[in-house]
């Protein structure tokens, strides 16, 4: 079916930190905002992270705590219309009058009826388990999104749900006390009119198994930083405990490896992801705080401590907490078949020595890449992308969040690597820019 919204408004594409922040600012500026998110709930990447800098007591803010209330606020805001499970089908028109077609994929669960009682997830017979993916870990075919995502309404994994595979099972809908589950829910195309568009598509992760010599997905005890974030988060699969996937034992030594797939000609990601040095410092510190006797090593190329309070945090991590920093990018990792320990061979570029290091666990910081959807959106809008798939700006200095098309703005990672703080600031800025242009247009200038 086709439904057409008539109200003029701003559309924000992407429901992560940047998108949410931009939407809130615009909504508070009195505009009607459509927030389009491809996932079943908003929150984006940040809900996969843990709250830990709180515990570090350095002059640096926790990345998560200030954001969570924003997610809830955004979800309840009267001026924000949230379209989850949504995909952009096409965009036409120009500044002041964009016509955006959004495909709202069915969720099969009525958000208003669902009371998040969890009866369905309990009864669901299908359990999906990915030994290498701690983030998703073990879950049912119908499962709740991560605890901070909003709304807390279960999601059905169509690949694995018996109903969608063979039509044999409807246990969840049988047990649902509020009859919120409806398998006949169907696609819906929504037409949205907008005066401006803000792109906040965020990032995607480089798959470290592409760097074969590190053995990610070959060795169980080689994990990514996101897995660690999940482990250390109290809601994670291990309830906040750091364990080796091979034997569920707490590691006595951990090595973090930076720039996996980034700053590398080999993967053509010659850029720096801009955040890894600091979240690694943070997590390394967390490991030390949780278990001081753990040996922690960090392999780095340059320490990117350019932000407010970063150097101070780093000093604390290296000097007071005793995390060992080694300058050099390891050449390879080998697993001791017996103990499942990992042997890292590397050149310490500050001593020019080739050495070997045996650790219980290796944590990789994969490159953060622009979101693949950028290509599609760029096509719809006729935007320019750079060779990596980031949106281009007409002038990176004077117009940092404009795009090559009038009325379309960017914020967050989709314009280039940046952290939560910069993304949020950019989001507010983009909102300011949008109001400026719209008011100017209304005043008949520009």
């Amino acid at each position: 079916m086709i439904r057409l919204e008539k109200v003029s408004s701003v559309t924000v594409i992407g429901g992560g930190v940047a998108g949410i922040q931009a939407a809130l600012e615009l909504a508070n500026l009195g505009m009607l905002v459509y927030l389009v998110e491809e996932n079943p709930s908003i929150g984006g990447r940040i809900i996969e992270l843990n709250c830990s800098s709180c515990r570090l007591e350095v002059p640096m803010d926790c990345s998560i705590c200030p954001v969570i209330p924003k997610i809830v606020e955004c979800y309840h805001h009267p001026n924000i219309k949230i379209l989850t499970n949504a995909e952009i089908m096409g965009i036409s028109g120009s500044a002041g009058n964009f016509q955006i077609n959004v495909l709202k994929k069915p969720r099969f669960i009525n958000e208003d009826k669902c009371t998040a009682c969890g009866a369905c997830t309990e009864k669901c017979p299908v359990e999906i388990f990915d030994a290498f993916n701690m983030v998703k870990g073990r879950k049912k075919a119908i499962h709740f999104p991560l605890p901070q995502a909003f709304p807390q309404v279960p999601v059905i994994d169509r690949e694995n749900c018996l109903h969608f595979r063979s039509g044999t099972c409807e246990k969840c809908s049988e047990v649902c006390p509020t009859t919120a589950i409806n398998f006949n829910d169907e696609d819906m195309i929504i037409g949205v009119k907008s005066e401006a568009i803000i792109l906040a598509t965020g990032l995607s992760l480089f798959d470290p198994s592409g760097i074969r010599e590190y053995g990610y997905k070959r060795y169980k005890n080689v994990i990514t930083i996101l897995d660690l974030e999940q482990m250390t988060s109290i809601h994670g699969p291990t309830g906040g405990k750091i364990v080796r996937i091979s034997d569920k034992k707490e590691p006595k030594s951990i090595a973090f490896i930076q720039c996996v797939g980034s700053r590398s000609r080999r993967t053509n990601n010659n850029f720096c992801s801009g955040v890894c040095c600091m979240y690694t410092a943070k997590d390394a510190a967390l490991v030390k705080i949780l278990k001081p006797e753990t040996e922690v090593y960090v392999f780095y190329i340059d320490l990117r401590v350019f932000g407010k309070g970063y150097q101070e945090l780093f000093n604390k991590v290296r000097n007071s907490l005793g995390v060992k920093y080694i300058r050099g990018r390891p050449g390879g990792i080998w697993e001791d078949p017996k103990t499942r320990d990992l042997i890292i061979s590397f050149e310490n570029t500050l001593t020019q020595r080739v050495e070997k290091l045996r650790v219980d666990m290796v944590v990789l910081s994969p490159a953060l890449l622009p979101h693949p959807n950028n290509r599609k959106l760029a096509e719809f809008l006729g935007l320019e992308l750079d060779e990596h798939g980031f949106f281009k700006s007409p002038n990176p200095v004077s117009q940092p969040f404009d795009t090559t098309i009038k009325g379309v703005f960017t914020c967050g990672y989709c314009r280039g690597p940046r952290g939560i703080s910069e993304s949020a600031t950019q989001a507010s800025a983009a909102a300011g820019r949008v109001t400026e242009t719209i008011t100017l247009a209304k005043m008949g200038r520009n």
């Binding site: 508070n28 954001v67 009371t115 720096c272 350019f306 949020a424 507010s428 100017l440």
Partner: protein
Amino acid sequence: MSEANLNQEPRIGIFLCDCGTNISSIIDVPQVIEASKGISGVKFVERDSSLCSSAGTKKIRETIERSGVDRVVFAGCSPKNYGSLFESVCQKAGINRYLVAFANIREQCAWAHQDRPKEATIKAINTVQMAAARLQKSEPLQELEIEVHPSTLIIGGGISGMTAALCLANQGFSVLLVEREPDIGGMLNKLYKLYLTNQEVSEILNPVIQSVRNHKNIRILTSASVREVEGYFGDFEVTISVNGGTEKFRAGTIILATGAGTFEPFGMYGYGKHEGVVTQLELEQILKQGKLKHLEKVVMIQCVGAREEKGLTYCSRICCMVAIKNATLIKKLYPDCEVYIIYRDLQTYGKENEEYQSKARELGIRFIEYTPERRPEVFPNGNGKVGVRVYHALLGETLTINSDLVVLSTPLIPNADGKEIAKILKVPLGPDGFFKEAYMEMRSTAFGVNGIYVCGTAQGPKSIDESITQAYAAAALAAIPMQQKKVKIPAMTAEVNEELCIGCQLCLDLCPVHAITFAEGKSMVIEAICRGCGTCAAACPSKAIAVKGFKDEQILAEVEAALK
């Protein structure tokens, strides 16, 4: 809207939401209802399974209007979820939102004690009683609604200030731009070319200056400084001293864009001692005036006075890129000139910067890494040359470069008058001396105090694009209340009982937002500023301060009820 009549004794209505099976499957709801009926003043207990649904809210309204209660308890999920929703529903139904209390029996009873249903039920009963007891002592409150004057004072006429000014002026707000220097433009006036784009600074700066000058909504005061700021959010009374006299200005919001200063490394690496040792900024000047004579060797030293254990501990963020940019300019000017950059960690974060760096390497600029343990040495080397001895950490060798020019990259430092402005505006400075924002992560351009915002290098070292970004962000935040014209301040503010106040002024020092003033021996709370944390109330030796909505009586009532 009918308000609670306080003469008659409270009439309380309780809505209990069993949230589908979420609560009812663990807690014995009927038992809770029975117990709640017993509470004095309770007129009804209404059970429902989804109050948050539209049907639910409709029901709430009808029930309230029918029963004529004047206070309401919601027993169900955490107020963090739908608290504001229920409050506004009650408001619509004629019950003051401050006569609504919540009993969190889902998150904090049913879910947290799933393993022990019996105790969970008892705790739930207790929780409802506490909420009711609290209500007994509650009074209706009115939110203070303050007019926000559609005008902004922007302190600092650099790129950040000007950008913010334009953004707001274009939205039709009147802006006063106050610049301490005789001319606007700020730090950029001193610069030559920009990194990333390599274009002349003027290409970016001049158009901005022009449109700021010509904008009918912007008034510029140069050689001026802010003397005094009275009043509060929405209606600041600003006194500016300009050419001898003073001027007054009325501002709804204030944006701080005072920029940063530069560190002068006297005594370091022979700066000020030997000829041919300059700072990047000075080099920038020389290049700008086209006075750079042919050179054979140039050495740039990074992190001069920055990233230290003590003193300037922070990384100044932009120096690496500035050095690479100037090195590139020199290389383009004199391709045969050898340019060395002696760095600690290259802060070429992100995409553009990294690419800019690799271009520089292709040009043949040489990078030498040093460590804080073994710093380079600079010594005069006869006939105007300066020798640089440096331990190349990656080669493991000590090199000596006989250079014509040594350029020191020094960090941006907090502005000299930062402290004074902080005092005038009652906003905090961080440990690094830059202005301390409210929350780095989500509100890097706002302060704890309403109505005052910060952007640009005043908040910390930043590149030009980042400053511009922050300027827009600050402008957006400032625009919000001015667009809304009226802003509601939560009624939960402190108030001083003048009879009881003994004038000890303890509260003045404790208030984090300086909302308390002192006059005629008594403290006085400026509601528009107060954010109701209650630290003052807890400290007041004579119990003269009460926090509306969180009065001692209310909390103590809860305490007693909890321990019945």
